[in-house]
């Protein structure tokens, strides 16, 4: 196997690689032993601490409802943020300056602010200015914070999706006499939505991860919050963290795999224009890339 950095190994390189493998394996084994010792020292490997996870009660009372709330908040946020994002994304490409500039300002503003601040603010806003019940308030606050932030990221995804389409699409639409609105709704958007699908699924991973913030900071009973209740009830700390982390990893791994499967499928598809927004583009859009100062060069 050859890459940018090294050629196919010869006999000497092969020997060196084997030595490096052995040394690295020894280091890994040492690390594993050290972690095992630390866990054992603190009694975290006792079966009593792990036993709750083999019984259905821990799952049905704590973990699964928590996971359910995580998915509920993430799903709701995505469903509400998508149309909002599409609206702002399209508004930002308007020919009218008085539409384009305010839309751009809103999008850049909400992308520059940490999602936690939005959640805290929304929580306090609902507490003071509305009669949302105390039970519902955390969900409302988490979803509001996530919607404000993610709508602005999705607006950028929509914009990038439309800009990624070949210019000929707009030109052909104009040539057959479609108006600007018709070009957008009949020609550009349908294709851009397909191109954006992998990016939207990748954004779902970001949303799922951010729901955990609401669990710790405003008492929303999602997965991480339920872990706390569970840990207090069964007095099992480290095992509960490991189980919850694995649940997040599996959930997000499924989403990521689905996104890259979609991406590959769209790239291979003969019917599309080949314009696809993938996971890498999403990462870029999540960092506040203010004023579109940079971008295209980075992910090329």
């Amino acid at each position: 196997m050859s890459s940018v950095l090294y050629d196919a190994p010869g006999p000497r390189a092969k020997r060196r690689n084997i030595i490096l493998s052995v040394v690295f394996f020894a280091l890994l084994a040492l690390l594993a032993w050290w972690i095992y010792r630390a866990l054992d020292d603190k009694g975290q490997l006792e079966w009593a601490l792990w036993e709750p996870f083999t019984e259905s009660e821990a799952w049905t009372t704590y973990l699964l409802p928590g996971l359910g709330n995580t998915l509920k908040a993430a799903g709701l946020s995505m469903i509400i943020a998508l149309p909002l994002g599409a609206f702002f994304g399209i508004a930002r490409m308007s020919d009218h300056r008085w539409v384009r500039i305010p839309a751009g300002a809103v999008v850049e503003f909400f992308r520059a602010i940490p999602v936690l601040l939005l959640m805290l603010f929304a929580n306090e806003f609902y507490a003071r200015s509305t009669d949302v019940s105390t039970d519902d308030r955390p969900l409302y606050a988490v979803v509001t914070g996530l919607v404000l932030y993610n709508a602005s990221v999705l607006a950028e995804i929509v914009r990038a999706g439309i800009l990624a389409l070949p210019k000929g699409q707009t030109e052909a639409a104009q040539a057959i006499g479609l108006r600007k609105g018709q070009t957008m709704t009949n020609v550009l958007l349908p294709q851009a939505v397909t191109a954006m699908l992998p990016a939207i699924v990748s954004q779902l991973v970001v949303i799922v991860k951010d729901t955990a913030l609401g669990g710790v900071m405003i008492g929303f009973t999602e997965l991480l919050n339920s872990r706390g209740t569970l840990a207090a009830f069964y007095a099992t700390v480290i095992p509960s963290f490991i189980v919850v982390a694995i649940m997040y990893i599996i959930l997000n791994f499924i989403l990521t795999s689905f996104a890259s499967w979609l991406e590959g499928r769209l790239r291979r598809s003969k019917r599309s224009t080949g314009a696809v927004l993938g996971a890498e583009d999403v990462e870029e859009l999540n960092a506040a890339e203010i004023g579109g100062a940079y971008g295209s060069g980075a992910s090329a």
């Binding site: 690689n17 690295f24 710790v216």
Partner: protein, 222 residues
């Protein structure tokens, strides 16, 4: 108009945010570069470790990692990081540890994608004229990779600046912690929100603009 700010150290809180950002940035740059070196190394075991680390850490919420450093590392494993009695300093250091562990995965990916933008032909040509591995790396690949890495790394830095608010989960006295306290005690919800939002815009806007300009300027034209 701004008398609700009285009695609160807003600048101090943002200074803590800046410190968290800079210290975590340095740490994750080091650890992330090491991980990237593993991910592109010719040794399969190292590549496997790097890939596993990145895929595991990226899929865990940062909040879980930060809370774990406090409840897991500090409370159960008695990790003190040289600050056994000082709760403030301890949670500050623990949160940096968490940020470094998390952000390094993203730094690693940024650097790796930078190395991948260098066309294979560059290295092949370098090897063809007889340069050694270190020469290929230092003279040909890294100078080109470094330039294309600035953009992605700037994104990671800005994301890190915003992520430092998660330290509020373990009581580090940074911006989000102070905002939570102020917003609960004072009447001017909107004004307080605006002040903190403005603070983060001030922190991320110049960084974004400067590094964006730099990455455009240094980009290798192909």
């Amino acid at each position: 108009m701004f008398d609700f700010l009285e009695g609160y150290d807003v600048l101090g809180a943002f200074w803590t945010t800046v410190q968290l950002t800079l210290l975590s940035a340095v740490g994750s740059l080091i650890w992330g570069t090491l991980l990237a070196a593993m991910r592109v190394s010719p040794v399969p075991l190292m590549r496997g470790f790097g890939t596993a680390y990145v895929n595991i850490v990226r899929n865990i919420p940062l909040t879980v990692i930060i809370v774990f450093t406090s409840i897991g590392l500090a409370d159960i494993f008695r990790v003190t990081l040289g600050a056994a009695d000082d709760f403030e300093a301890l949670s500050f250091r623990l949160s940096i540890l968490g940020f470094v562990a998390y952000t390094a995965a993203f730094v690693c990916e940024a650097i790796r994608s930078g190395i991948n933008t260098v066309p294979v032909g560059q290295a092949e040509a370098a090897r063809a004229i007889g340069l050694s591995f270190t020469q290929v790396l230092w003279l040909i690949v890294l100078p080109q990779a470094f330039r294309s890495v600035i953009g992605p790394l700037a994104n990671v830095l800005i994301a890190l600046t915003k992520n430092t608010t998660v330290a509020a989960a373990i009581g580090v006295a940074e911006a989000a912690t102070l905002m939570k306290e102020m917003i609960e005690n004072e009447a001017q919800t909107l004004a307080i929100g605006a002040v903190f939002a403005f603070g983060f815009v001030v922190l991320t806007l110049p960084t974004g603009l400067f590094l964006g300009w730099l990455s455009k300027r240094l980009a290798v034209k192909r």
